[in-house]
Amino acid sequence: MKQESGKITLSIRNLIKVFGSKHAQVQALDDVSLDIREGELFTLLGPSGCGKTTTLRCVAGFEKPTGGSIDFLGQDYTAIPPFRRNIGMVFQSYALFPHMSIFENVAYGLRIRKTPKREIEERVGRIIQLVGLEATQKRKSSELSGGQQQRIALARALVYDPKLLLLDEPLSNLDAKLRVYMREEIRRIQQQARVTTIYVTHDQEEALSISDRIAVMHDGKVSQVGLPDEIYENPNSIRVADFIGQANFLDCAVKNNGVTALTFPSGEEIVLETGSDSIRSFTRQEGILFVRPEQMKVMAAADQANTLKGEVKVILYLGSVVRYFVEIFQKTTPQEIMVDQDRRVRGVRVGDPVDVRLQGEGAKLFPSNQKNQLDQA
């Protein structure tokens, strides 16, 4: 169930954060505005240094914003110290108290709130059960595995019923398989606890799979806010398209009258019978075609019309898909593209000439001036 609408609980307005002294300043946040709705899992996604963690730490109160404001439930939170915010937070390193037992760790927030002893025992027991642990309460935190520590950190953050839960790259210290399992657990626990949650990650797959909504950030700015499928299928810029999932970008000249004709630098022309709105309404002469690997097809060369000619350079078997790296435009400006197939294409091997067909529905055109947004790495 996506939360298209809902009461806005946290409102971040024009947030600015500048680090450093007068001589060496780094602008970590540049006019960030976000609205987070009640009960949703909202993810801040972006490469390292994009400002996602700084935004989260401003919400927690660990960083004081240089400008802008943070409103929570109608109250100005901008200058309130962290311990008065009634927020729960899970840290990247879990930050369990090493000198306390599991029980003491989880009970910490309740003790601070002067909860009666019996109630503490009851609530700690309940929350430990919710996160899927039992009978470990007397152990020290250092005796637990990474996944168990993760669950305890989550229990500690949720036990006092915070109004807001912050998760700072909580899965980055786990191995791949556990990471997938724990993200489902976090989603389940978050929905059971019905707590408004901000989740920070650089892992786009993680973000797409568990979020209600995602904000993609770059260079201290918000690039796009939307549902996971919107972000993946309809990125609003090359930067977002490039960061989320796999993507191919091809320079082309565009002619749009009824059907769309794309002419590539090699001279090859492709006519798209169908196309997305962004293609149909594209009015410029020059553009960059964005197409995901799964929206193309590789076929043994048969000189078919409306295809790009190329040569297979590498084939990667990835389990659920087979990825073909095809070099196109070989005579003029050689470029490798990725094409994903559900299974191996019969009779196509490394070194073979192939035809590549584009499917217009999922493709998009971006203006050529966005080219500098492509990650050079």
Binding site: A79, P81, N86, A95, G109, I112, R156
Partner: protein, 564 residues
């Protein structure tokens, strides 16, 4: 408008400023004020009114006119140079053997190699005379057996040997630390590229530990030129700057001349620091240690046995003076005879009758100063590590100055500062506690800084976001996690204060004599028995404090002394 100001005030963090204020008070009142008074008074002739028109270079001109002054300066440099040189010659090979060969007894070498740092060198200094002096045990047997004797140990040779035997552990331990913490993959990558074992050592291993070697050499030099006890006991007419200061201050009550000599002493320290910085300026390396794999060790047989014998010899000789102290304390008469004849507890009975007060005094002063230093040092290190502020240099100065100033200089400064003027403390126990406190606070600062740096900031943030105020977080989270560092620093502070001499000798009064002063008095009057009985009690007190702390902390002594 008013509301925003109120809000600002509410979220305003006062703690760092309070702690900074504390540091500032300590710096100004106990360090800057006395030191500036020393500087000023050193330009005033004794008896003159301390005013601007009476400024004179008379006190300093002694260094060009007086033979005593000139030779004391030269002697100090000689002692510093040779102690540094010999400490390097002993410490580097030892570090290499223990770190890089498969020598047995490594843990034992490290522990015993740390002992000379804790045991006050002046206590054992006289043993060198008993053992190697003209009338000493070794010469007696050499003369009987082979008909020759060793050259006289009194004066320069004795001073240099005795100090070196108490300072080489700095080079040994610091170099050892650098050798074992260097990434073994760096050496292995040199080897896989075709470098021989010896070439790897010469071109990779040694250059990587040069910063540690330079740092330890500097410490040895500073210790050597600031040492008072050893030249006072073994020097005779061989004066060095600290003994000359003592001579001027307690012999002639000439604090102004003492201050001038102290400033020259400090200038030598400053020169050494500048020199060492110049040497290391282009040699600071950051290595990323990617592995917990232990350093590789050579399996060469010959190297292993040469190393083992060398280490045993060094440790034996460095602990020999203190062993002599303990053995002799249980005997009657040695000075008259060639070697101890009759074992008894007579010395102890005598001590218990007349010298209980110094023992109690030392315990009281060391404990009080350590407690104050522990509280202040912990607060300062917390602010230094956790809070960012521009005036950090105030902290650095407060920590570094007492650390690098020779003990006797601090003594003179505190005496000049607080025997007249705004705050008069001379003759009280407080003046000693003040001096002890500012000299040992750096130890606790360093050790707590080290343990605080190990604590993930997120742990404290987790406490804050859970709803704990700063004070609650500090009390329930930070302090318990810092406790091992505080304890380690406090024990080092306490055990070195128990035998503190160079500051004490300037500041003590008849009522507040310490163990170290009593020992020196006995030694000066050639009453060896009681001196050594007191020395033994001191050694036992110091070692039990260390052993207790090791027990509680569950770590080795050599680890505790990493930052001294």
């Amino acid at each position: 408008m008013l509301a925003t100001i109120k809000k600002r005030l509410k979220s305003f963090e006062l703690t760092p400023y309070l702690v900074l204020g504390l540091a500032l008070i300590i710096l100004v009142l106990f360090i800057a004020y006395p030191l500036s008074k020393v500087v000023f008074n050193s330009f005033i002739k004794l008896g003159d009114e301390p005013s601007l028109k009476n400024l004179t270079l008379a006190n300093f001109s002694q260094f060009s006119t007086s033979n005593l002054y000139r030779s004391a300066l030269l002697n100090t440099l000689t002692v510093g140079f040779f102690c540094a040189l010999f400490s390097l010659l002993i410490g580097i090979p030892m570090a290499y053997f223990v770190a890089k060969t498969q020598a047995p007894f490594k843990a034992l070498f490290l522990t015993l190699g740390t002992l000379p740092l804790i045991l006050p060198p002046f206590v054992g200094a006289y043993s060198w005379i008993l053992l190697f002096g003209r009338q000493g045990l070794v010469n007696y047997f050499l003369n009987q057996g082979f008909g020759f004797t060793l050259p006289d140990i009194y004066g320069a040779p004795g001073v240099i040997i005795a100090i070196t035997m108490s300072t080489y552990p700095f080079v040994f331990l610091l170099t050892y630390g650098a050798l074992v913490s260097a990434d073994p993959f760096i050496e292995e990558s040199a080897e896989i590229m075709g470098a021989s074992r010896w070439r790897v050592t010469r071109t990779v291993t040694l250059p990587l530990v040069i910063p540690a070697i330079v740092a330890s050499t500097l410490i040895v030099f500073m210790r050597a030129i600031g040492n008072f006890g050893v030249p006072a006991i073994l020097g005779g007419n061989f004066y060095v700057l600290p003994t000359l200061i003592h001579f001027q201050v307690t012999g002639f009550f000439n604090l102004n001349a003492g201050g001038a000599i102290a400033m020259v002493n400090v200038a030598l320290v400053g020169f050494a620091i500048v020199l060492s910085q110049w040497v290391t300026a282009k040699r600071s390396y950051v290595t990323i240690t990617s592995t917990t794999q232990a350093a590789r060790t050579s399996s060469g047989r010959a190297l292993k046995w040469v190393g083992t014998i060398f280490c045993i010899m060094v440790i034996f000789f460095s602990l020999l003076p203190h062993l002599t102290v303990i053995v002799t304390s249980f005997t009657e008469g040695w000075a008259g005879t060639r070697y101890p004849t009759k074992f008894s507890f007579r010395n102890y009975r005598r001590i218990l009758e007349v010298a209980m007060t110094p023992i109690k005094n030392s315990l009281f002063l060391a404990t009080t100063a350590t407690l104050i230093a522990a509280v202040t040092g912990t607060l300062l290190s917390y602010v230094n590590v956790r809070k960012k502020f521009k005036a950090r240099w105030i902290l650095d100065l407060t920590i570094m100055l007492p650390f690098i100033l020779p003990g006797i200089v601090v003594g003179v400064a505190i005496l000049i500062g607080f025997s007249s003027g705004i705050l008069i403390l001379s003759g009280t126990w407080m003046i000693m506690v003040v001096a002890f406190f500012i000299r040992r606070m750096p130890y606790i600062f360093r050790s707590t800084t080290a343990s605080l740096s190990q604590i993930d900031v997120a742990v404290e943030e987790a406490s804050a976001i859970t709803g704990a105020s700063w004070l609650t977080t500090f009390r329930k989270i930070t302090l318990p996690l810092m406790a091992p560092g505080i304890l380690a620093g406090a024990v080092i502070s306490f055990s070195t204060l128990m035998g503190e001499l160079s500051t004490t000798v300037i500041l003590y009064s008849a009522r507040w004599k310490t163990i170290s002063v009593a020992i020196v008095e006995y030694l000066f009057s050639a009453t060896i028995g009681p001196a050594y009985a007191l020395g033994t009690i001191l050694i036992i007190l110091v070692l039990s404090a260390i052993a207790l702390a090791n027990r509680i902390l569950g770590r080795k002594m050599s680890q505790m002394f990493k930052m001294v």
